[in-house]
Amino acid sequence: MRAAILLSIAGIVLASGSHAGEHRIGMAGMAYAPATIEAKVGDTLVFVNDDTQAHNVLTATVGFSTDLGKQDPGSETTVTLRKSGAFDLECVIHEEMRARVVVRP
């Protein structure tokens, strides 16, 4: 029985290793949630503005720098992670809104 459970867990791990994952990041209450994202190359980040005011996502880390533009409440923006490494996110409008993303190969 125990062996069967271990095998099925191994199967799940194998399956997740071969499929791109989706990471949803909310903005309610003027904060990215979660504020730390662990992902791998090929995964997507979906930024969901579930707040009542406009936000934005900017990465100013060299090699990853991207400005996704303004996001109005209710909108979503999807980004595919194309390279490994770590970068910071910040909202152009609200300096205190920050998150960090680590992308494994």
């Binding site: 060299v62 991207t66 533009g69 992670l81």
Partner: protein, 177 residues
């Protein structure tokens, strides 16, 4: 005589940013030869506008700049917009490094420069320290109908980082802060 001067200053303020006589491109000159002289410290993908922004800094000030201090007097930052390479259907393409692929086609050159006292031209609610802004076209001529209210209001969101989004961040990362 004194009263007349006061009144004319007030009318300049009432006219908004466009009314400042000694501001914007009048004193933020086009930095000729910047692609050879300046330091390209970052590039920012802007996928929604199919644009890549090349970020340059003046080399004389760059050597002295520290993350913990405001940028040195005389610092010039340039944001040079390049069109991104697109496929037949107009979608942006990605290079082997996972980044947008810039073309040589430049659309806009935005310049911000700081000089001691320049901020005095602006009311406290607008002022970005001693920074001022200019908007040039690829031929080096100032964009005729350029508006700078957006520059000032957006960059005020980084008052704690010397009114810039990428340069202080670059210095912080370089110094491991």
């Amino acid at each position: 005589m004194h009263k007349i001067v006061v009144i004319s200053l007030a009318s300049v303020f009432a006219a908004g940013l466009a009314g400042y006589t000694l501001a914007g491109p009048d004193r933020v000159a086009f930095p000729s030869g910047y692609t050879e002289r300046f330091v390209l410290y970052n590039t920012v993908d802007r996928p929604d506008r199919k644009t890549i922004r090349f970020m340059y800094v003046s080399p004389e000030t760059h050597t002295k700049a520290k993350a913990s201090e405001p940028a040195p007097d005389g610092t010039i930052l340039i944001m040079e917009d390049h069109r991104a390479k697109v496929d037949a259907s107009g979608g942006v393409q990605f290079g082997s490094d996972g980044r947008l692929v810039p073309t040589d086609q430049i659309t806009n050159i935005f310049v911000m420069e700081k000089r001691a006292g320049w901020g005095d031209a602006y009311p406290p609610a607008v002022r970005n320290g001693d920074w001022d802004y200019a908007h040039y076209l690829p031929d080096g001529k100032p964009k005729a109908d350029a508006k700078f209210d957006g520059c000032f209001s957006c960059h005020r969101n980084r008052a704690g980082r010397d009114f810039n989004f990428t340069y202080t961040k670059y210095l912080m990362d370089r110094e491991g802060k």
